[in-house]
Amino acid sequence: MKSLPSVVMIVLIMFCLAVIPAGAEQREDQFPDGGALNYGEYGRPATLDPITSNDMISLRITELIFNGLVGIDEKQEIIPELAERWEMEEDGKKYIFFLRQDVTWHPREGEDAMPFTADDVIFTYNIMMHPQTITPLKVRYEFIESVTKTDDYTVTFILKRPILNALAKFSFKVIPQHGPQNTEFLNREDPFVQSPIGTGPYLLKNITADREVILVANDNYFKGRPHIEKYIARPFADQNIMGQALMFNAIDMIVLVNHRDIPQIQGDKRFVMQPYNALSYSFFGFNQRNPLLADKRVRKAFSYAINRQEMLDSFFNSQGTIISGPFAPGSWAYNLDVQPLPYDPEKAEELLTEAGFARNGDGIMEKGGRKLSLTLKVPIAKESEAVKRVVLAFKNYLQKIGVEIEPEFQEWMSWKEDIFLHHDFDLMYASWVFDDSADISSLFHSAEIGAWKNNFGAFSNPDVDGLIVEAKLTLDHEKRRTINRKLHETIADENPYTFLWTLTNYAGYNKKLRKVAIHPYKFFSFADEWYIPKSEQR
């Protein structure tokens, strides 16, 4: 009985091959096709297109449905994707992309597949930059001056000025011209955002009542049909239940395992835990509008007072790296010579004394009648045990050096207003995602102080301002590296944040999945090569 359907399948696939000779080539590797991957997500995706979406859940799904002009391989190097090759002219002010001619868009029901052309690239760019399109991508592409089509398979981008690592930015996902109903701009009311079509290895089949997103293999994928037949993104509303769902085979993969579940899953032979970098760092930010915190010594005292290693060990199973500055550790911009400040409460007290503070009757540090009694504002997430732990431990450490911290957990939106608009806080806790260009101007440049700007702590330092501008203007990679190292050093010394760590995330999955490689940010970049052995497909 079992052999019959597979025979039919093979015949069907061969039939497809015969019909579309260009697009669908069988993969060279001999791994089996078929099987389904159920993966658990904490929360539901809002939209499924690459332009209006802004949550990680959507981003992971768009990675499966769409392609960019260029892609990134497992060694973080740039590889051709929709563009076969490219040329750079005029000292990096002009990029010419030669597109693949064998790419087709996912067919809509009852329609034929349309070919991918240069028009789609220009369309995507125009939609992205239209003022009425609301997208987080816009700021990233302001460096582009214009796009022109040379012929159906050649596109030319003119840049406003040459920038470093421009090529990587052309990894934006391309959407089809015949996709959205509104051909000028894209908003969330367009049906396209819920039923997107792309060029990627998987096409959207349907969304179930529970907003489970079901994707099926694209037989005509230009890199060859992906091995796994079906991807199902299943939303969970409770992380504890999601962890159990993996343990009891209701799902096959969790893209981000909660740290408290790590020991349990790691100890189980049926599962693989694969680490990847979180690409974000956590920190406590100081509001320097508070005169007590305007003193560098006070800020540094806070960093000396806390035991980051102990927190990392107790709360995150030691899965992470303590950082000393705003760059990704291990990246070219990170200065390894700057050591994170060690845990040294005595030094911390010394610094506070130096800054003119002395303990009062209650044991709280005081200077000129003003107590070091500060509010710490933290946004609430439902699943926030780790955040609570860090905040409570922070309060505890600082209590020992005579600083009183009043943590205040706030709902996300009001937290954002307090931090970014009213600047009504002394300390805040948050995380930033690393920018791939290592550009920190929006965080620490003094021009970025103001309502709804990212320099919420009003950090201002002429040296830092100068270095930031210099780093932006230079095109020489080595020179930029030197500037960034200097920048790192100055910021670590000025201590506008108490930098904590960047965590190691874990994806947990069932052993039946093979050849799993994970992109740290986009996650599913290499998912077309994953496979499930025939015997374990159910």
């Binding site: 367009d190 819920q194 529970d210 907003r211 489970e212 769902a245 709902e411």
Partner: protein, 315 residues
């Protein structure tokens, strides 16, 4: 049903519908005011504000005044258009109806469970007085009414996994033979621990006792007629519909929690998300549908009351 009973019912229904419309107007207005007062200007596009994670300045200024926004919303409502969710862009009406059905299933199911537990206990203790068995059962209802609902949900899931090897995920794309069980579990949890079992028992018991003591029942009993038959309407039907009407808001609240625990795609879960996103068209839609459910419960109660006791319509 006697024909004479139909007319009061139609007048009642029309009157109740009128009142319901007025109430819904009030509900929507109150919610609108709350949203208006909340931080994060809900009437600017939510998408713009989510985007602020990347670029905080992008928050658009709120267009027009809040009351004109409310009138626009009302006008669209009359056309049957509740707008589109700011988060997903999907039409609110469609979305709310889709998840509302799941919530209704959960709510009605758990009401039935509550009644299945409470009614026998109430009847037993009303008829037999406070025997030790009756007392034990009553204490049991107090215990289950005082349990935190999500914690009970965890217990049920834990037992289901470790005892039966079943992972209770309803609404899966891979439905198995045990799917009915997965659907039953959340209904059971909400039915047991929505905090109303003991109240239902108590109320029903008191009402039944009261009716049993009324003269016409005592007379009936003396004549040897069935007490149950005579007391059914007043002592059983009316209190039950009253309870259903009064407890729907509570059960809808409990559903918010149960839906999260059991991954149930319902209205409560959507409300939780929407409240955080300030997705105001969706919030308005959800409160409206929830209020309609509540009003439907109270309409049912009134209708039953009229059928049982036509005099009441004149009150």
């Amino acid at each position: 049903m006697k024909l004479s009973a139909v007319r009061p019912i139609t007048t009642l229904v029309t009157r109740e519908l009128g009142i319901a419309a007025l109430l819904l107007l009030g509900v929507s207005f109150v919610v609108f005011v709350i949203l208006y007062l909340s931080p994060g200007s809900p009437f600017a596009s939510i998408v713009a504000r989510i985007e602020m994670a990347a670029e905080p300045g992008a928050a658009a200024s709120a267009p027009a005044t809040w009351y004109s926004q409310y009138f626009i919303w009302l006008k669209n409502l009359l056309k049957g258009n509740l707008g589109n969710s700011l988060r997903t862009g999907l039409p609110v009406l469609q979305e709310v109806v889709r998840v509302g059905i799941n919530t209704m299933y959960l709510t009605i199911g758990s009401l039935l469970v509550t009644l299945l537990i409470a009614v026998p206990i109430a009847v037993f203790s009303a008829r037999r007085g406070m025997t030790p068995t009756g007392w034990l059962m009553t204490v049991f209802t107090y215990v289950v009414s005082a349990l935190p609902v999500f914690w009970l949900g965890y217990i049920f899931i834990y037992i289901s996994i470790h005892r039966f090897g079943l992972f209770p995920l309803a609404f899966g794309s891979n439905a198995g033979p045990w799917n009915w069980f997965y659907f039953m579990l959340p209904v059971l949890v909400l039915g047991i621990s929505n905090g109303t079992v003991s109240e239902v028992v108590r109320y029903l018991r008191e009402e039944m006792k009261r009716v049993f003591d009324e003269e016409y029942i005592v007379t009936a009993r003396a004549k040897g007629a069935s007490v149950w038959k005579h007391s059914f309407k007043e002592g059983f039907l009316i209190p039950i519909t009253e309870i259903i009407a009064a407890k729907i808001p509570f059960i809808l609240g409990g559903a918010v929690v149960v839906e999260q625990v059991f991954n149930w795609p319902g209205m409560g879960r959507m409300a939780w998300q929407a409240a955080q996103d300030r997705d105001y068209p969706l919030i308005m839609g959800i409160t409206l549908v929830a209020a309609i459910l509540v009003r439907m419960g109270s309409l049912l109660q009134r209708v039953v009351l009229i059928i049982v006791n036509p005099r009441a319509s004149r009150e």
